[in-house]
């Protein structure tokens, strides 16, 4: 492998890692900080992709569909927390697993009824179409670079929000001791409703923004679900910084695994997880970082 190819593969790794981060970031909030085991996270990603597909055919404008999609997804997350998840905080994990597994089935069936079981493509917005030449005979789609930029921006914004703002402080405090925060006069239920809505919105947004390169197909949420959990566990439960580092790490391992060791490529990520958990049982970073 020459240097150019190596550099392109590094770019592939970073690009894939950043996308993984975006998908997993919502789970960091919901599972990591709020402590709810949410198996339906992959479904939110799937909903995002189908939302982008549906909205794109109505509006014909990618930026506008993204905007509408974000508003809808926050609303959706808010209602979901109010109607379902708010009853589960005090319950044992088995019940959370049962309910969120049920949600997966419901969402998949709804998708089948409302859209269909075919594979669809979402057009890349015209102002991001085209690609730049890279290496000798390859081009890199501009949209992929744009996607990486967005993921990076969201990573920075999330880190800032949770580490440096007052709201972030309350969220972190709530994760440590719910009652104490409540007795300080903070409406923790409402706050968490918004955190949850934010987590759902992030997953849906990830699905929307990834849809032009991932295409839209049944069962697409299941594959990202497992990887999202791996990212959160490796990075340290509830750590945004950890999720970013873990996602990038997985990006490199998957990419170079496929190039150098195809037979084992499917298992390498899990070997990595096992090794890191042996070394640091809590994950790479602490909660709230």
């Amino acid at each position: 492998m020459d240097l150019t190819t190596f550099l392109i593969q590094c770019l592939n790794s970073v690009q894939y890692g950043l996308l993984l981060f975006l998908v997993a970031s919502g789970l960091t909030l919901i599972f990591g900080i709020m402590g709810v085991i949410n198996l339906a996270h992959g479904s939110f990603y799937m909903i995002g992709a189908y939302l982008a597909y549906t909205l794109a055919s109505y509006t014909g404008n990618f930026a506008l569909s993204l905007l509408i999609g974000i508003v809808l997804s926050v609303l959706f997350g808010y209602l979901l927390e109010w109607g379902f998840f708010s009853f589960l905080y005090e319950r044992e994990h088995l019940l959370q697993v049962l309910m969120t597994f049920g949600l997966i089935l419901v969402f998949e069936e709804l998708r089948s009824i409302l859209v269909d079981d075919d594979v669809h493509g979402v057009p890349v917005p015209s102002w991001l179409e085209g690609s730049i030449p890279i290496g000798n005979n390859m081009t890199y789609p501009i949209y992929r670079l744009f996607m990486s930029g967005v993921c990076l921006a969201i990573a920075v914004a999330m880190y800032y929000l949770i580490r440096k703002t007052r709201i972030g402080m309350m969220v972190r405090a709530g994760a440590t001791n719910r009652e104490m925060v409540q007795s300080l006069g903070i409406n923790i239920s409402l706050l968490y409703r918004f955190v949850f809505a934010g987590g759902v919105a992030l997953a849906i947004f990830a699905g929307m923004i990834a849809s032009p390169v991932s295409s839209v197909y049944p069962g697409m949420g299941n594959s990202v679900l497992i990887l999202s959990f791996v990212v959160v566990v490796i990075g340290g439960i509830g750590s945004v910084k950890g999720a970013l580092v873990a996602a990038l790490l997985i990006g490199f391992v998957e990419t170079f695994g496929i190039v150098f060791w195809q037979q084992a490529a499917g298992a390498l990520v899990y070997v990595l997880m096992a090794a890191i958990l042996l070394w640091k049982p809590e994950g790479l970073f602490k909660q709230g970082t």
């Binding site: 492998m1 020459d2 190819t5 392109i8 593969q9 592939n12 790794s13 690009q15 894939y16 994990h93 088995l94 697993v97 049962l98 597994f101 089948s112 079981d117 075919d118 594979v119 669809h120 493509g121 057009p123 690609s131 030449p133 290496g135 000798n136 005979n137 390859m138 081009t139 890199y140 789609p141 949209y143 992929r144 390169v213 991932s214 295409s215 839209v216 197909y217 049944p218 069962g219 697409m220 594959s223 998957e254 990419t255 170079f256 496929i258 190039v259 195809q262 037979q263 490529a265 499917g266």
Partner: protein, 393 residues
């Protein structure tokens, strides 16, 4: 542990629903019980549906009877889940006591069905799954296939790539699972038999669709051609990514028909002009195909596809067996002999059965034009799967 409780509960509910849903009308009159074990939910739901419609269309065209025997249908959703295959197949065989098992799409499930069919000596007609093993080491007198083997279109494409298009080197790509290995192996066999050379086989774990590392590797290797085996969502994404990586114009892309069948809407312009091989195509110049398409559209209000054809031919195959046995259901040997010797007048063109009970059929070269996989020419005439490991004569 949590998950196993959930799945157990779900399968209980599913079993109850099935038990309630299927009538068990026993009548005195002699009839053939046909058990459809097909995917009626999930990704392959549309395929299962089309296979059943094709089968029913043929029976209806014969006036609802085959050789004077009424046909009674039983249905089980196989969920494309190999682990449930033995249970589901046994349900049809033991409980419903079907005479013929028809299924399925997913190769893993079909292998499970083949195992049960061998053990219980039930007649099995496979209307899609192309796994080589079924008509290879697992072949049996009572197991037939009305579709194709993974090897067939792949081998044909290998010949076409070397001879018609004059390529010298190629790279093959697929998910690392049995169907992918069989298909890329078939291509390699055909391509190298005509002096080509497969430089490298690239694979990634199923169902990973992050193709960038592989595309980069292809650009690095610079072969004359690329052959891929992907289906469904993976096929759409591969074709889009291949074009976006700027490789489509510099390194021609080939594949079996599944690369562009039922996926063209999602692939859009990125698929235009791609060549694929399959045992069926749009705009075939065959009278039987025109009649079939018209009748199918009229009956079901949507266009048929290759899966409908395979279902239709499964029914024809059964009919040929019953004809040979003169409607004597008990005369199993005559039925099997009749099916083995049948010449099927299929919408895809006539075909016969090989010693391993696979269709010996023409492979067509097709080219994507708009929303169609247009027939270009016959790539290989009467291609027979080598059926390696099958001891039947």
């Amino acid at each position: 542990m949590n998950k196993s409780i959930t799945t157990r509960a779900l399968s209980l509910i599913g079993a109850t629903a099935l038990a309630l849903g299927i009538s068990t009308g026993a009548a005195a009159q002699e009839k053939v019980k046909v058990g459809f074990m097909l995917p009626y939910s999930g990704t392959y739901a549309a395929l299962g549906n089309n296979i059943e419609e094709g089968f029913r269309l043929y029976v209806e065209e014969q006036g609802g009877k085959l050789e004077g025997l009424d046909i009674e249908y039983f249905k089980v959703d196989d969920e494309s889940d190999p682990s449930k295959a033995p249970d589901n197949a046994n349900r049809l065989i033991k409980r419903d006591q079907v005479d013929v098992l028809v299924g399925t799409v997913h190769s893993g499930v079909a292998m499970g069905m083949a195992k049960v069919a061998r053990d219980t000596n039930t007649l099995l007609i496979i209307p899609n799954a192309g796994a080589g093993a079924i008509t290879g080491p697992l072949c049996a007198p009572n197991i037939f296939r009305s579709s194709f083997s993974n090897w067939q279109p792949a081998y044909a494409m290998g010949l076409v790539a070397a001879e018609k298009f004059g390529h010298k080197t190629a790279v093959t790509v697929s998910w690392s699972y049995a169907a992918g290995d069989e298909s890329t192996g078939g291509f390699k066999e055909g391509f190298e038999s005509k002096g080509g050379k497969v430089l490298k086989h690239l694979s990634l774990p199923f169902p990973n669709v992050e193709f960038q590392p592989i595309l980069t590797e292809i650009a690095n290797l610079k072969p004359d051609a690329v052959y891929v085996f992907f289906a469904g969502g993976g096929a759409v994404k591969w074709v889009l990514d291949y074009a976006a990586a700027g490789l489509k114009d510099s390194i021609p892309l080939y594949g079996p028909g599944f690369l562009t069948d039922g996926t063209l809407e999602g692939q859009g312009k990125a698929a235009e002009g791609l060549y694929t091989t399959l045992h069926y195509a749009d705009d075939l110049d065959i009278e039987k195909d025109r009649q079939f398409r018209a009748a199918y559209e009229k009956r079901f209000n949507h266009a048929p596809d290759v899966y409908s054809v395979q279902g239709y031919d499964a029914a024809q195959l059964l009919h040929a067996g019953l004809k040979a046995a003169k409607g004597e259901l008990k005369n199993r040997d005559a039925i099997i002999k009749g099916m083995r010797a049948a010449t099927i007048d299929s919408p895809r063109g006539t075909f016969t059965m090989s010693r391993a009970h696979d269709p010996i059929q023409d492979m067509y070269l097709r080219r994507v034009e708009g929303n169609l996989n247009k027939f270009v020419e016959v790539a290989v005439k009467s291609l027979e799967d080598p059926a390696r490991g099958c001891r039947m004569k």
